[in-house]
């Protein structure tokens, strides 16, 4: 039997083998300790995870500081309740460990039909990389509710978290997760989103700090008509490993996913990884998906890995595409700007700002956009464009 025929047969039985996305399970035995050669681990320097992969339960915590607008509640729940509510089960070891070791979960609730004007802000701060912290968070947004959720990670820790976003029918949710850690932090994050019927979700992952950051953003659909926009921005400095893994699982008809991740790299040993997986199941007729990753290499000695994958089990779709580009400055852009009298350095500054502005203005959270522009500015000042500041 050919691989395609096998896949189709498996799909007929309602079971899909997506080798890039191991089946979800709470059982740790289903997620053995990786040796680094596995497809899903081959880009990650395992040693620098500093023991998270065989970590035990721990009482270490991040400090929480929250801004909860009226109508939004945050409560502690048990592990059993998390599963009952519909948590999206872990599909890799760090997330499974977080579920097993966190000893409970935090639930953010936005009731149905509630329109929350101000963003929900959750500030999580670590005190030391010696702390091993397991996080388990659920976000439940009721039908036709509208909310913006901002998660800020700062300080340092070894932090592994499993987060589930359960988005009700017709709801509109905007999530931003900012990884602005100190230099030595390690963060493994699994965000999974279930998009309700006709709901729309925007999820933005932004990674600036940390020694090693590896973030998943997974999307699946509870019914037809759901839309997900997955955005990302990262800036890797010398020695940093920043990895972003996307998975859009089109398991319902007429759903949409649109992925745009942009990154810059500067300094020796700066390493970024972007893996964009899209699975279009047999049932998912009329869907539309597009994923794009662009990397701007600012100095020598950096490495950007970028792998878009598309698994298609039905041809009855509205559109599917992807683009990936990793390059230094575009000579034509620089020439155009310089031909207007702008110096080479200033032209580079304009191009880099433009590269990120383009994405930042899609985030749709004005209070954060300003801060992001400032951070990009500070990152640029560190290295390539320091003569300008």
């Amino acid at each position: 039997m050919t691989a395609v025929a096998e896949a189709l047969e498996a799909a007929d039985q309602g079971h899909v083998e997506s080798h890039l996305n191991p089946p979800a399970s709470y059982d740790l035995a289903d997620h053995p300790v990786p040796n680094g050669r596995e497809e899903v681990w081959r880009f990650t320097p395992l040693k620098r995870l500093r023991g998270i992969l065989d970590g035990d339960a721990s009482s270490d915590h991040l400090t929480w500081e929250t801004t909860l607008p009226a109508g939004v509640t945050l409560t502690e729940i048990t592990a059993e309740q998390a599963v009952e509510i519909g948590e999206l089960a872990p599909n890799e070891r760090p997330a499974a460990l977080a579920a097993a070791n966190s000893g409970g979960a935090m639930l953010l609730d936005v009731p149905a039909d509630t329109v929350v004007e101000e963003p929900v802000v959750i500030r999580l701060k670590g005190s030391s990389v010696d702390d091993l912290v397991w996080g388990r968070l659920l976000y439940r947004v009721g039908a036709h509710a509208e909310v913006t959720i901002v998660l800020l990670h700062t300080g340092s820790a070894r932090y592994s978290a499993i987060q589930s976003f359960l988005v009700g029918d017709g709801a509109k949710v905007n999530v931003l997760s900012l990884q602005d850690w100190d230099d030595d932090a390690v963060h493994l994050g699994r965000d999974a989103i279930r998009v309700g019927r006709d709901a729309s979700v925007k999820h933005t992952s932004i990674s600036f700090g940390g020694d090693l950051v590896r973030m998943h953003a997974n999307v699946e659909y509870a019914g037809p008509g759901g839309e997900a926009e997955l955005l990302g921005l990262y800036f890797a400095d010398e020695g940093q490993h920043l990895e972003h893994r996307l998975f859009a699982d089109h398991n319902a008809p007429k759903t949409k996913s649109h992925v745009v991740y942009k990154g810059a790299l500067q300094g020796r040993g700066a390493h970024t990884v972007w893996i964009g997986n899209v699975l279009i199941r047999k049932v998912a007729e009329g869907i539309e998906t597009y994923e794009e990753n662009r990397n701007l290499v600012l100095t020598d000695g950096c490495q950007a890995d970028s792998v878009p994958n598309l698994e298609i089990e039905t041809g009855e779709i509205a559109g599917a595409g992807h683009a990936s580009a990793t390059a230094r400055f575009d000579d034509e852009q620089l020439f155009y700007l310089r031909s207007r009298g702008v110096s080479e350095k200033e032209a580079q500054r304009l191009v880099v700002h433009g590269f990120f502005n383009d994405l930042i203005r899609k985030v749709g959270i004005p209070s954060i956009e300003e801060k992001l522009l400032e951070t990009v500015e500070a990152e640029l000042a560190k290295n390539v464009l320091k003569e300008l500041t």
């Binding site: 000579d331 852009q333 009298g341 200033e346 304009l350 990120f356 383009d358 994405l359």
Partner: protein
């Protein structure tokens, strides 16, 4: 008072089969107040001349000189050339995502003048130019050339010409791809520039159409990397009637 003097300019580009000579000795002088049209068939090297003067890294100058008011242009970097008073309106303006037209124009103006323009007059100047170029108010907030129609790109080039106010403007096929209304708007923009004191214009075109709106003082026929013929505006009329066959024929 400004003079762009091109003497025996030779330029080559790298190709897979080694360097290829495109310009084979071009001599041309543009004095202030003069408009020169360069006409020629595709592949004759017209655009190479424009980009070589502007300093595009793809083109390697192997001989000859280019001076602006006696200053050696070829010694200057791309941005120094612009600050010295050269401007190239490009045939294919480049998209710069995420950089707004407003930011781009102010940055360029600051670089050319060596100081930031006065905010109040600048906003007025920009709005005035946009209006004259028939570009609506929201245009300034769009990313440079991104998603612009062909006509918008060309009108944006001429808006820059107006605001940056160089000594010598090189217009590379600014007329190509324009409908008649856009062609008029662009031509009026160029003519307003020409009316200013001491401006030189080098107008590169494939068609005679634009010369009905912008009257050149001199016409040069460009064939195979060289000036094959020169004359007054009447030469354009002759080209319109007879095309380039005469020059292409003699080449063989």
């Amino acid at each position: 008072m400004s003079t762009l003097e091109i003497k025996d300019l030779k330029v080559q580009v790298k190709t897979e089969d080694g360097p290829k000579e495109i310009l084979k000795g071009v001599t041309l002088t543009i004095k202030d107040g003069e408009t020169h049209a360069i006409m020629g068939p595709n592949g004759s090297g017209k655009s190479t001349l424009a980009y070589s003067i502007a300093g595009h890294p793809r083109y390697e100058v192997t001989g000859g000189t280019v001076t602006l008011d006696g200053e050696d242009v070829l010694e200057m970097s791309v941005d120094e050339r612009a600050r010295a008073g050269l401007f190239l309106a490009m045939q294919y303006p480049v998209e710069v995502p995420g950089v707004s037209v407003a930011n781009f124009l102010r940055t360029a103006k600051t670089a050319i003048d060596g100081e930031a323009p006065k905010l109040r007059t600048w906003v007025k100047d920009v709005n005035g130019v946009m209006e004259r170029m028939n570009l609506d108010a929201s245009f300034s907030q769009r990313s440079v050339n991104e998603g612009f129609s062909g006509g918008e790109k060309k009108r944006h080039e001429i808006a820059q010409l107006d605001l940056l106010d160089p000594k010598v403007a090189i217009l590379d096929e600014t007329d190509s791809g324009l409908d008649i209304d856009a062609l008029k708007v662009v031509s009026e923009g160029v003519n307003r520039f020409r009316e200013r004191e001491g401006k030189g214009v080098l107008l590169i075109t494939h068609y005679t159409r634009i010369l009905r709106y912008i009257k050149p003082d001199y016409v040069h026929v460009f064939v195979d990397g060289q000036v094959a013929d020169e004359g007054g505006p009447e030469l354009a009329d002759e080209l319109e009637a007879n095309g380039y066959e005469k020059y292409l024929g003699t080449k063989v």
